[in-house]
Amino acid sequence: MLARVRGGESAAYGELVNRHALVAKRTAVFLGAGADADDVVQEAFVKAYKALGTFRDGAAFRPWLLRIVANETRNVVRARGRRARREELAAPLDVVLDPAEEAVSLERRKELLAAVRELPEPMRLVVTCRYLLDLDEQETAVVLGWPRGTVKSRLHRALGRLRDALPDKEVQR
């Protein structure tokens, strides 16, 4: 697929866009793009296309794309910070939880989400990528641009903090 795109078949890029649009949007929203998420996603796909020449053969496309989405989201969030009416701005993990998910109660999920929001930024980012977006460790490292060891240690510390913030719930069930 990538070979076809690089070979000049730009229409083939449409298939890549379709395939990754959903996870790109989820990433943008989870990282705080809010109402700008669609713009962020579109911009990220255009930038990714332009940068395809630097994409390493055999690397995974998804984390590489999501890294661009994450950077683009950061730009948007920063640009907003300079605007005035902060209270109307979307925050990271500003999402509604579907009550129908059965594995974990809505109440418990709300607690978890609130606790993740309270984490310091690097920890929140790593939990968002690794668990909320369910990327693997290598993908998380690529998206955040950190060494794998850093992903591991920050994740470990983040889970520790979450456990402290949510006393005993795990043990009780």
Binding site: S10, V17, V96, L97, L113
Partner: protein, 218 residues
């Protein structure tokens, strides 16, 4: 449940507005005239990469190769191998609706097939391109196979191929995931096959019985 699994559940259940419908068209329009930057050494790299793939193919151990091959699409179902899976599945959900087969045909836009020997289903429901019906303990879903898969089945043991039907038997319980990554439920052993552009999922019976019922489905 572990904290990490709970967090995954939070992520899965977070509702994100649908992707802007015009996204692909907008991106393609914007990149139509842009050249992809290409470097000369890319050609050399492509050659080396191709060579490596050939060499890797030659030395991969057979089980590994089997795993690579089993990422496959069966009509509207994407089979995705995973390392571990659930050991049990809840009972097969019965279909609550009570549409007649005519109503289901009208809603789905195609005439649903059914296993003749089971007789009239006890429940039928339908949506555009999709019909589900059930008999006691047996559930049959059929849907038009689209360009993108409707379900992803995360299975962790071998798929068994049933040559007569060109079908695949998922012999262990597995996560049934919607194409948007939402986990639907844990499904039990299931037979999946495609006929005339319609994908069928039959769940609730053992393999021999499933093959028998599938053979008599029309």
């Amino acid at each position: 449940m572990n904290l990490d699994d709970e967090l995954r559940a939070v992520g899965r259940s977070a509702v994100v507005p649908p992707v802007d419908e015009g996204l692909t068209a907008a991106v393609l329009a914007r990149v139509a005239d842009l050249p992809v930057r290409k470097r000369l050494r890319d050609r050399w790299r492509a050659f080396v990469a191709g060579l490596l793939v050939l060499m890797a193919g030659a030395v991969l151990a057979p089980p590994v190769r089997a795993t690579v091959a089993e990422w496959l699409r069966i009509g509207g179902v994407q089979a995705q191998p995973v390392g571990t899976g659930p050991s049990t599945a809840p009972p097969v959900p019965t279909v609550p609706g009570h549409l007649s087969l005519e109503q289901a045909t009208r809603t789905a836009g195609f005439t649903p097939a059914r296993p003749k020997e089971l007789g009239a289903p006890t429940g039928v429901e339908a949506s555009k391109g999709f019909v589900a019906m059930s008999w006691s303990g047996v559930r049959l879903e059929q849907f038009e196979s689209d360009i993108s898969p409707m379900y992803i089945k995360k299975y962790y043991q071998d798929l068994e191929y049933v040559p007569d039907l060109n079908a695949f038997w998922f012999k262990t319980p597995h996560e049934l995931v919607l194409a948007d990554q939402r986990v639907l439920r844990i499904a039990g052993p299931t037979l999946v096959w495609v006929h005339n552009g319609i994908t069928f999922r039959l769940e609730g019976v053992d393999k021999a019985r499933a093959v028998q019922l599938a053979t008599g489905t029309s």
